[in-house]
Symmetry: C2
Subunit: 764 residues, 2 copies
Amino acid sequence: MSNTVRSTTRTVSKKKTNGYQVIGTRPIRHDGLDKVTGRALYGADVRLSGMLHGRILRSPHAHAIIKSIDTSGAEALPGVKAVVTARDLPALSDKIADLGEGAVNLRDLSTNVLAAGKVLYHGHAVAAVAATSPHIAEEAIQLIRVGYEVLQPVLDVRAAMKPGVPLLHPTLTMESLGKKTNRVSNVASHSQMKKGDVARGFQKADVVLEREFQTATVHQGYIEPHNATAQWNADGSVTVWCSTQGAFITRSQVAELLKLPVSRVRVVPMEIGGGFGGKIQVYIEPVAALLSRAAGRPVQITMSRAEVFMGTGPTPGSYIRVKMGATGEGRLVAAEAYLAYEAGAFPGSPVGAGAMCIFAPYNIENVLIDAYDVVVNKPRTSAYRAPGATNAAMASETVIDELAEQLRMDPLDFRLKNGAQEGDTRADGPAFARIGYLETVQAAKAHAHASAPLEGRCRGRGVASGFWMNYGGQSSAVANVNPDGTLTLVEGSTDIGGTRASAAMQAAEVLGLRAEEVRPLVGDTESIGYTEVTGGSRTTFATGWAAYEAAQDVKRQMIERAAKLWEITAADVDFADATFTNRKEPSKKMTFKEVAARLGETGGPVVGRAAVHPSGVGVAFATHVVDVEVDPDTGKVTLLRYTAVQDAGRAIHPSYVEGQMQGGVVQGIGWALNEEYAYDGQGRMINASFLDYRMPTSLDLPMIDTVIVEVPNPGHPYGVRGVGEVPIVPPPAAIANAIYRAIGVRMRVLPMSPRRILEALGKA
Amino acid sequence: MSNTVRSTTRTVSKKKTNGYQVIGTRPIRHDGLDKVTGRALYGADVRLSGMLHGRILRSPHAHAIIKSIDTSGAEALPGVKAVVTARDLPALSDKIADLGEGAVNLRDLSTNVLAAGKVLYHGHAVAAVAATSPHIAEEAIQLIRVGYEVLQPVLDVRAAMKPGVPLLHPTLTMESLGKKTNRVSNVASHSQMKKGDVARGFQKADVVLEREFQTATVHQGYIEPHNATAQWNADGSVTVWCSTQGAFITRSQVAELLKLPVSRVRVVPMEIGGGFGGKIQVYIEPVAALLSRAAGRPVQITMSRAEVFMGTGPTPGSYIRVKMGATGEGRLVAAEAYLAYEAGAFPGSPVGAGAMCIFAPYNIENVLIDAYDVVVNKPRTSAYRAPGATNAAMASETVIDELAEQLRMDPLDFRLKNGAQEGDTRADGPAFARIGYLETVQAAKAHAHASAPLEGRCRGRGVASGFWMNYGGQSSAVANVNPDGTLTLVEGSTDIGGTRASAAMQAAEVLGLRAEEVRPLVGDTESIGYTEVTGGSRTTFATGWAAYEAAQDVKRQMIERAAKLWEITAADVDFADATFTNRKEPSKKMTFKEVAARLGETGGPVVGRAAVHPSGVGVAFATHVVDVEVDPDTGKVTLLRYTAVQDAGRAIHPSYVEGQMQGGVVQGIGWALNEEYAYDGQGRMINASFLDYRMPTSLDLPMIDTVIVEVPNPGHPYGVRGVGEVPIVPPPAAIANAIYRAIGVRMRVLPMSPRRILEALGKA
């Protein structure tokens, strides 16, 4: 088609051209203009008549018993319309609910929203106020008197596991290998994955290395703070407008926490300024609802940046120990890992996912992984882009690098020798379908970057790989044919990284339309069927699939309409390239537009619908190459060049795949070099601002080159795997490996900040 | 079901109980709470950042040539951001487009929106301004200088038809019996309907009466004035929020007038405070769009009440002549009618519909009807509840009354003798399917009102019948199953009279849910498939049918899910009363809720969809009985008692059927007794306010008793006919007949105001 531009220059594909008309092209995203012109509406843009402003009072202590809360001062302040505390939340049982993104303990969720009995981290929400202005609300929360009995905080995962330390939850008993024990501690669970016999495996190894690692607590750093506007209606139903990765999971959580049927809660997802996993758990949504119920007016709460850092879920700091063994010929024979992740104030770190990922790129016969989920006095963690995998890869991929070094093998060749392929099994069980890991390593090796000379002092090149499982889940879509032959597509996925475009393109491909001829719309919980979160790299995969199926449903009906106009049977109608052909008289043709213009006379509108829960999720692999220069005087690491290779399965919109890859790399770089939650001796966070919590800016970054490998996922009609998560996994390890090549020091603690580099150089 | 209340006390049904669980019950309407608590959002509630306020400059003359428009004064006023005139509208051809509610001449539509060359009525829009405040906009339109050459106006339909009168459109040639002629006049068209041989028919008659009638121009009088907010987007698309009876027809009109593809126009229907046919044509929507394009900011225009009267479409004044003949035994043998309706400034009065309705309740062998569509210097007429039929029934139903009198027959018995039945044909062709006209007459006769004594001076009882064709048209619906077993129902029909409820109830009936368990939502043009206007009594019929089909689609899928859970085939699953039964093991049962809770594990969400364009539209008949008292000193008519009987086919929600009946009667009473557009000698409307345009208030009205007759429409799954329009048809004739019984004077000019009654009494 003349009006689309096919770009394959940076794509390594099995085919020279991908055989599609829309898929693989780069149209302007449908929501682009709205966003660059300021027309797009975000949660903080919501304005309702009589709307009040809410503010949250947060704990100044990391660990304390709440002895008393006196809200009378706040209630007496003119302009204050409602004050709520945990007493206003329904009592919830210890029920574990699957709300669509893993199991959640409802009582924990509730107690995180408003602290009951104890505060468990600095910034834990204690009470909330709604007032006629944000300033009055701010003043009012200062008038709430909370009596605390301050306790010793526990801030480090290894310290928290020691006997005799203060306990966050005096009734928390450990789950061990799937079974509840009587052991009361800060360790919420211990799980294990096993394959082969590691002891025997290590016996076969000629080289065995065992190393220890620590990673810091880091935040997703989305640009838009959390916000929620709630209106409690006269009939006891509630409407919530908010920034969420998934309206339906927000609906589920609000319904569970307020003990309402889900059909009494309507969630309207506004545009979202980033989420990365951090906008799945609810924080202020139920509080805004409670305030609205109490005040009888709509209430809006928006977080400050400090509240985002202190009161929402970062990804855990962790302690990891890895032991790996290889034969002299470079064959990996055994791997063992011990992972302990900080869950924050409540159980639920992604340590299980870390364990599933840590050795996944490699076909190793004998594997043993122990994973510990540990509570500490930090904010309850939440998902962050391939949650748990980056911590794990920092450990395994630097050990792989060290093994290759000791075996005098090129690190990419070492990976090619041991890399997982179709049919290989992971330590957690599943065998891989067709995967593209080796293709990413080959593409990295073939890239000019891998062989480019790197001269100069204190410079080094590192490589690392990464793995992520991806997720499928449920999605719905509805497609309506307009009389001008265009399509509207209603789907339920919050659009973070261009998924309106990637869903619309999959529908367009089915019908031979241009991407622009499909107008995607994100519905709320009452206007579209159940759809899980935009997360897990699932949206282009599953919601795109729903769009594909809805378009197929449209196609079937349009063929029937063409048949009706020709007075033949549907079986005698061919459809290709947006054109219907009469098989009985092949000279008779009608375009999609022509048939669309005549729907009124052939039976009325055409509405296509689909709902999917696909099983053939395609896993994702990435291999990164990075060049660094280390300043030995300051310890500062400068990135000189970065190349990210990734198997996308099929890149629906290559620009947005590249954008995901670049974005993931940037976050991985921040995690590698600078980002960390800093605490004082009392467990108070001391860097809750973008000035002090150092994320990379464009000035800190080189151009991040991307190579999309396309090994189609056999489990998706177009081969989509999902691309959002895996690019964050390799960067810290790749950079650590590059730093080693630059200055001869193996860094094993994140972030590899100037101070740590200097310390390491001093030691070396 | 224990929690629904079945009310059949006032329903005359073929069955004692209707056999349904939800249909025929009276749940609280789903939008009721939102509306009574002020939460529902109407067009004037729309607030967008940077929004400007638009005002329209209107012609002070009824008929004039525009010599010049100087907008420089307005443009120079600080705060004015845009000024537009007809020059800003694209030139349109004389194309007749079917925009979903009858044929529309696009150039006329455009010229009505902003006058080009000539102004054709007092209040015709000439220019528009957008400014930062409504006050500045108001000031600015006063600064626009328009040079007019004033022409003689033509205000009466018969005067307009005379040779030599001023012509509104010097190029308008008459269409006669479907063919264009060369005759230039104010007569836009003459059409004819013929059946049998009237001359021969009248020869058989023993009694022949011929009478003349006039009816006044009257307005729908909806409580909410027109409003439109438009945002012209950076990509050339436009979004319009407005008060409309149909978002899709507004989209079509805006697209045609601005020469945009329909997919570039998004129309968001806000709640609507009444329409009655008057909110189908666009007036300010394209103007707001033009202003927004010019200003680069959103623009909102709201009309004042005076603008609504002067600038939107009332229903036509008319001149009608009726001649009818009957045998001495009371058999109607011939009927002839001449109808001339005022189209207002552009062709398109509902005279054709009037002609179709005028004799439709009766089986008459010989009929001849001539219908004339005539332009006059009044606002372009638009639809108003059974458009054209009330005028016609005023004529035919008073002649029927007079014939019965002369034949010394009871007027209801006369109707029973001549009433149309299944198989009888209308003058315009179609034969009736099963209809319930005679049943309405029988029910009226059986009602206590018909035989109640009516004593006292100047009191009289009148009866009259009415007919309306009803309409089918296209509707779409999508239904989503929630995990708690409730359903959301997205449909495209603006809810004016409770159609969220009547659509939801039809879906609920299919699935055995309660009405409250289906949450209906009205989508905009991008979130639901094509759906025609809420009008033509079509919404409960066609959108309800779409809801029924969408629920059937859900049912089929839910049966498959139950089969999957039981590991049997769908054919082995029974579904009844919201319960699935395993035919293989009939003791195994699952509720709808249980299966709904397990959709995730059985294949994902269930989305049902439907689009319909039904053909089996059921026509509507009504028979009314009214008692009046006339004050011979003042001419004031007081209504003592009113009973309206109507065949609803099937009353989905009897309360809203009754509401439609009562509302139609009230409007018919206003039309009968007081309402009329009053003009001065220059054709300027002099009563454009609710103080001077006298609509009935509750103090003017008796309790309006309603009797729902249910003769199911064989063309609808539940027998629905549509109920909104026909109740406005009988009142003027019934009241005229009652006045005759009270004071012995046959009133043949509407309104039958005190002045006219006194005049008539003086003459008598």
